[in-house]
Symmetry: D3
C-alpha cells in the first residue's frame, strides 16, 4: 500500500482501548477465564479475515492485548489500509493465554468495526475509480468514535470532511434562511472566521449556486441534485472551487454522480451504516 | 407500548452526551452558527422519521439540546420502543436557534444509531414471533456504546446477553480445550464463582451436549449447528436449562432456527452491523 | 496456597493507586522528604506483619512504589491470600529512598485495609470450616473500593455476592410489597431479565419460602431467621436451590448458623467493619 | 450542636457520590427495581439509627438520592455532628420509589462509614474530656476517602492532623537518620519550606526532645512513650510548642495518655479501624 | 460593542472553573472563611477595574461563584469585549459570604488573565487601525488555556490563527527542508488533506515566495522579513491569497509592518506574554 | 546550582503534558507533519535560549517528546534553576522527526512559560540579595498551572506562599470585618484549625498590628504599607513572627521594601504577569 495514512496518536489509542477494556471487564473481570485457564498458560493465536475487505485498527488491537499484559507479543502481518480476502492472516499473537482471551473481544470489536468502515469506503472508492471524484465522510459518525472512524475512511481510500463543527464553516439551508440568503451568509462567515478556515456552502438550486459564484467561497456542497443538475453545476463552477455532491448516495448511484465531474462525494453511510468486517481469532496451541 | 424497558441512568446519559458534544464542538465550537445566526434567534423544529423502524435514544437526544442551553424545550412525541413509519414526528423542539443547530448532529447521531439497532432487532423479533425464541444480543458491540446498544436491543423487543466478561460465565471452545474437557471446565467454573453467577457453556456437538447434561449447567450455547442438530439438542435438553443458538444467524435463517425450539438466538449483527435509522431535524420557523 | 484468586485488572490497580497517591501528595508533594533526604539516596526496606492475619493487596502496594519511581524493586515474599503471623516479612523493597518514603503510606493504607478485610473473612471462614457453608460479602462496601474489597474477601477464603445492582436480581421485602407478593415479584423478574441473570429472593417467613418453592427461583435469602427456622427452611428447600442466611451474623453466631445447613452466609461486617491489619515498613539501610 | 464543622465542597460531594453510584449501578442498572417497581410509584421512607453514635455524611446521602432523580425530597432531621440513639430518625425521604431504592445502598454506605468514624472519634473524645488533650486523626485513611473521613473526625469532635504529605512537615525517624540527626533535620526543613508551613518532628527519647527544644520546631510528636516518659516530656516542653502523643493508643489507654498533659493524641484507628454505624432505611408507604 | 464574539461552550466553562476551584480549595477547603465567617452571612460585592483595558472571561467568573453556591446572584455590568477604565464596575455580586470569599480568587484569576490577553490584543489592534491588517494569535498559548486565550484575543478585537496542529496545514522551514523544497512540500500537503483544510506555508525569502506563487497555496507566512521585503512580497502576491507577517512583532514595530500591506500579523506575545489586568473585588456590605 | 528544588511528581507531569498534547493535536493530529515528513525520518535538534534568564520545566519538555514516541532521546544539558544567556544550549533531542515536530510547541510552551516565571522571580530575588527578605509567590496564578508555576518560582530562587485556601489560614480585611476585629478573628481561627496549620493575618495599620502582637499569630501580612510604616512595623514585631509585605511591589520598589527588614515580600506579578522566556528548537540534521 502506498496510502499516506494519518498517524493515530498514542494518547488517543491508549484512552480508547482502556475505556473499551473497562467496559468489557466490568467490576469482576473475566470470570470464565480465571476459572478455566491456569495463570501461567501460554497460547499462540492468529487473527484472520473471514471475508474480503480492507483492514483498519491494528494499533488498537495491539494495544488491547498489551494493556492487559505487556508480555504479549503482537505481530501485525498486514498494515492498516491493506486489502484482505477470506483466510488471510492479519496478525499473530503469542503470550499469556489469560490476557489473550480476556482482550480478544475488545481487539476484535475495534478491528471489525473500523475494518468495516474501511471496507465499505473501499467499495465506494472502487466504483468511482474511473473519475476524479474523491469519496468523503461526514459528521454522521458513531458517538465517541469520530477520529477512529475518519481514520478508517482514510484506510479505505477515502478522504476526510470536517472533523467537527469548528474546523471549517459549512453553511447549510437553515443558516442561509436566517442569515438572509446565500450572499449575506457568505459575507457573515467571511467576516467571522480567520484566514485559515475554509468556507463551504450548501446549495439546492442552480440559482443559489450562481449567487455563490458571484460572492465567492472555498467550496460548494450540491445537495440532493440530480445527475443532470450536477453536470450543469460543475460546468458553471468550472473549477473555481471544489464542488461536493451529497444526498442519497448509494453504491448503485455513486458512479453516475462521480461521472458528472464533481470533486468530492460525501457519504454518511461510510460511518453510520457500515457493517462489521468478519474477523476471527483462533487459538492455535496452548 | 407495554415493553418494560430498562432505565438509562441519568449519569450515563450525561456523560455520553457531554463526550459526544465535546467531540463535535472541538476547540472553536460551531463557527458556522456563530457567524450566521444571531445570538437571540429562536427556532421551532421537529425530528421526524424518514423510514419505518423503532425509536431508541430519546433521553440522549433531549440531553444533547439541554446540555447546550437549558432553556430549550424538548417534547418527545413518542417513547423509546415505539414503532414509526416515514413521516412520523418523533419530537418537537423549541428554543434558542444557536443551541438547536449546534446540538442537532449529536442528537441525531445517537438517535439514528440506537434506533438503527432497535429497528434491526425488531425485524429479527418479528421473524420469530410465532415461536418462543427470544432474540438476544452479544458482546460484539461498538466500543464505548455497549450499555446504550443493549438498551436499544431491548427497545426493539430483544433480550440482553451478558453485559461483559464479569456478569456470567460463558465457557467457550478454547476454555474447554485448556480446562481438559466439558466436565472439567464446568466443575472449575462452579468451584470458582459465587451463587449468583450463571454458567453457560458452548458446545459444537451432541456428544459435548451429553456431557453438559450429565454435569449440569445454567444454560448451553449451541454453536453453529444445523437445524436438525438443533432439534436433536432441544429434544435432549428437554427443558433442563435454556438453550441458545448462535452462529450464522441472518434475517433469512432466523425463523428456521427458532422453529427448532431453542429458547434464545443470539445475533451479533444487532449491534455490530445495524445501519442507522434515517431521521431528520427540520427547522419549522425562526 | 491453592486458592484460585481473581486477577486484579492492571487498569484498575493503576487507577486506584494513582488516585491515592494524588490524594496524599496534594499539590506541593512530600515536603518533608524533599527537605531531609538527598535526591540520590538509596534505601532497602521490608514490609512485615505486626499481627497475624491474611495478606491482600500486594499488587497495589507494588504499584504505589513503582508509580513514584520505576526503578524501585519490589519483591513480594508472600502472595495475596497467604496467612501471616507477627514478624513475617511480606515484601522487600530496594530503591530510591525518596520514592520509597513518599509512597509508603499509600502502599500500607491499601495493604492494611485489604488485609484487614481478608483477615476478618478468614476468621469467619474458619468458624464454619466444619460445615459446607460459604462465607460471602454484601454490597455494604466502602464507597469506591468495592472491587478491591471483594477481591480481599476472596483472599480470605470467602465468596462474592453481587458486585452491584446489575449483575443479579435480589428481590427484597420492599420489592415484594410493591410487586404484590412473592409470586408476582418472581414472575415480574423472570419476565424482565435475560437467561444469564440469576434471581434471588429474600424471605422472612416459612410461608413466603413455600411460595418461592412453588414459583421457582435461583436462590433464596433467609433474612434474620433463628437457627430453628433456618433448619426448617433448609429441610423444605431440600437442595432445590442454594439458600443464603443473612442478618445479625457475628463471629459468635456464625457457626450455629452454618450448622443449620445453609449454603451461604452473607456478612456485611467483612467489608464495612473490618479493622486494618497492622503492617509496618522498616527501612533497613540507607 | 455548636461544633464549627468544615464545609464539604459541593464539587467533592458530587464527584464522590457519582463515582459510588456508578460503582453500584454497573452497566445494566438496578434490574430488580426495574422488574418489580412501576415507573411512577412514589414512596416515603425514613433513615433511622439502629444504635447510638454520631452522624456524619448527610450531604452525601442527600446527593445520592438527588443524583438519581432531582424530584426526590430529602429532609435531614439532624445535622452532621449530632448524637443519636437507637431509633432516632436521621432523615425523611419522599419521592419516586425507583430512585429511592436504587440509591439507598450508596446513601447508607456513605452515611454508615462516616458516622462510624465520627462515632469512634466521639468515644475517644469523651474519654479525654476531663483533660485539655485533643483527639486527632492521621494519614492512615481509607484510600480515596481522606477528605471525607477527616470531615467525619471533626463531626465526632476530633481535630485534623495533616491532610497529606504537602501541607506540613513531619520529620520521622527515617528522615532524622538520613539527615544526620534531629538538629540537622530541623535545619534542613526550615531552610526548605515557606513561612506558612509548620514543622513537627517525631522523637522517641527525651534526649532527642532536648535537641528539638534547643533547635526549635512548631510541634513535637512523642512516639510510643510510656505515660511517665510523656509526663517528663510535657514538663520539659513546658508549653514551648504543642506536643502530640501517638502509638498504641486505644480506648483503654487514651485517658491515661491524656492525663500526662499532652496537647494532641493522634489515633490511626479513627479512620482505619472504625466499624460502620448501623443505620437503616425503611420504606413507610408506597 | 458590535464584536461578533464566539460563544464559550458551557461544557468548557464548567470544566475549566471546576478544575480551578479544586486546585484552589485543595483537600481541606477554605479554612480561613470557615473559621471567621458565619455560615449564614450574606454579602454584596462588586468587581471593578483598577486600570484601563478590555474585559474577557465574565462567563468563567460567574460560573466560579455559582459552582460554590447556586444562590449567588452575579450581575455582569459589562460584556466581554467591552473597554474599561480604572474605577469601572464590571459586575455586582450578591449572596452567601462564604461562597463569595471562597470563589473570589478563582474568578479574578480567570478574569484578570483573560482580560490581560484581551487588553494587550486591543493595544496591537489600535496600532494598526489605519491599515487593513488583522492582529492574530499563535499556538504559543499557556498549556491548558488555548481555547480561553483565543477567545480573549477575539474579545480584544484580534483574529484567531489555527487552534491546533489539526485544523489547518502550516508548512514551516523544517517541513520544507525534509519534503525537498517549497513546491514538493505544497504538493505533498495538497495530496494529503481534504477539501476543507487550508494550506499555509512559511517563507523566508522572496525566492521561496515565487515558488509558492507558482505552486499555489491558501496563505503564506512571511517570516522575519524586513518592512521592505514585506512590501515586495505583498506586491508580488498581489492579492492571490492572504499573507501573514510574523517574527519580532512588538507594539513599537507593528504599525510599520501593517503599513506594508500584509493581511495578517501574528503575535505570540498576545498569549504568552500578556500581564494580568488589575481587577479587584470589594465587599460592600455584609 | 545548589538550590534544593521540589520534585515534580511524575503523575502531575504526565497529566499536564498529556492534556497539553491533546489540546494541540486536536482530533486530526499534526496534518502538516504527516503530509511532509516521511514516517521513518530521524532528526537531531537542540533547544537553546534566545535571551538570558532561568530555566524551569525541563521534566515537562522531556515528557512531551516521550509521550509521542518513547524512542526519542532527550538529553537535558542544564537543570531547572540554572541561569542561561542567549545562545546557551538547554537540551539536545534525537529521534523520530515526526514525533519531534509534533511535540515541539507543547514542550516549548511549558518551558517558555515556566522559565518566564523563574526568570522574573530571579530578577526580584537579585534586587533584594543584600537583605534577608525572601521573594514569595501568591495565589494569583494561572488557572490550572498553580503547582507548576510555584515550582518555577522556586527555580528562580523564590519561596512559596500557600498553595491554596486549605494549607494555611490567611485572615484578610473582609474576614476581620465580619469576625468582629483582629483579636476575634485570630481567636476564631485558633479554635478552628489543627496544630499543624499556620495562621497569618493581614493588617493595614500599626494599630491592628498591635492587636496581633497581643493576641499572637504565626505570621503577619503588612498590606500596602509605606516603607516608613513597614520599618515601624518591623521594629514592633521584633522577630516575634515572620512579617510579610505585599501590595504594589515592583522591580523598582522591591529593594526599598526589603531594606525595611521584612522577612517575606509577596509578588503576584511573578505568576500573573511574567512574560515567556524566549527559547527555540532548531533541527540540526535530518
Amino acid at each position: 500500500m502506498t496510502k499516506n495514512l494519518p498517524t493515530l496518536s498514542p494518547l488517543l489509542v491508549q484512552d480508547a482501548v482502556r475505556a473499551a477494556l473497562i467496559e468489557d471487564l466490568g467490576r469482576a473481570g473475566d470470570v470464565t477465564t480465571e476459572a478455566t485457564i491456569p495463570a501461567g498458560a501460554i497460547a499462540r493465536a492468529s487473527i484472520s479475515a473471514r471475508e474480503h475487505g480492507v483492514i483498519a485498527g491494528l494499533p488498537l488491537a495491539r494495544d488491547a492485548f498489551l494493556a492487559m499484559d505487556v508480555s504479549v507479543a503482537f505481530e501485525a502481518r498486514l498494515s492498516d489500509g491493506d486489502a484482505v480476502v477470506a483466510g488471510d492472516c492479519v496478525a499473530r499473537i503469542n503470550g499469556p493465554a489469560r490476557a489473550m482471551l480476556s482482550s480478544e473481544r475488545v481487539a476484535l470489536n475495534f478491528l471489525g468495526h473500523l475494518s468495516g468502515v474501511a471496507s465499505l469506503t473501499a467499495q465506494y472508492v472502487k466504483r468511482v475509480a474511473h473519475t476524479k471524484a474523491k469519496i468523503c465522510d461526514t459528521r454522521k459518525t458513531t458517538p465517541g468514535l469520530r477520529v477512529l472512524e475518519k481514520y478508517a475512511v482514510r484506510c479505505g481510500g477515502g478522504a476526510n470532511h470536517r472533523f467537527g463543527l469548528d474546523d471549517a464553516v459549512l453553511i447549510k439551508d437553515n443558516h442561509i434562511a436566517v442569515a438572509g440568503g446565500v450572499a449575506a451568509a457568505l459575507r457573515a462567515a467571511k467576516a467571522h472566521v480567520g484566514h485559515l478556515t475554509k468556507i463551504e456552502i450548501e446549495v439546492d438550486t442552480i440559482a443559489q449556486l450562481r449567487e455563490v459564484l458571484t460572492e465567492g467561497a472555498d467550496a460548494v456542497l450540491l445537495d440532493n441534485m440530480s445527475a443532470s443538475q450536477l453536470r450543469e453545476a460543475v460546468a458553471l463552477i468550472s473549477g473555481c472551487f471544489p464542488c461536493e455532491a451529497s444526498g442519497g448516495v448509494t453504491l448503485e448511484t455513486v458512479a453516475e454522480i462521480a461521472e458528472t465531474g464533481v470533486d468530492v462525494i460525501s457519504v454518511g453511510a461510510l460511518t453510520h451504516s457500515a457493517r462489521t468486517l468478519d474477523l476471527g481469532l483462533d487459538i492455535e496451541i496452548f
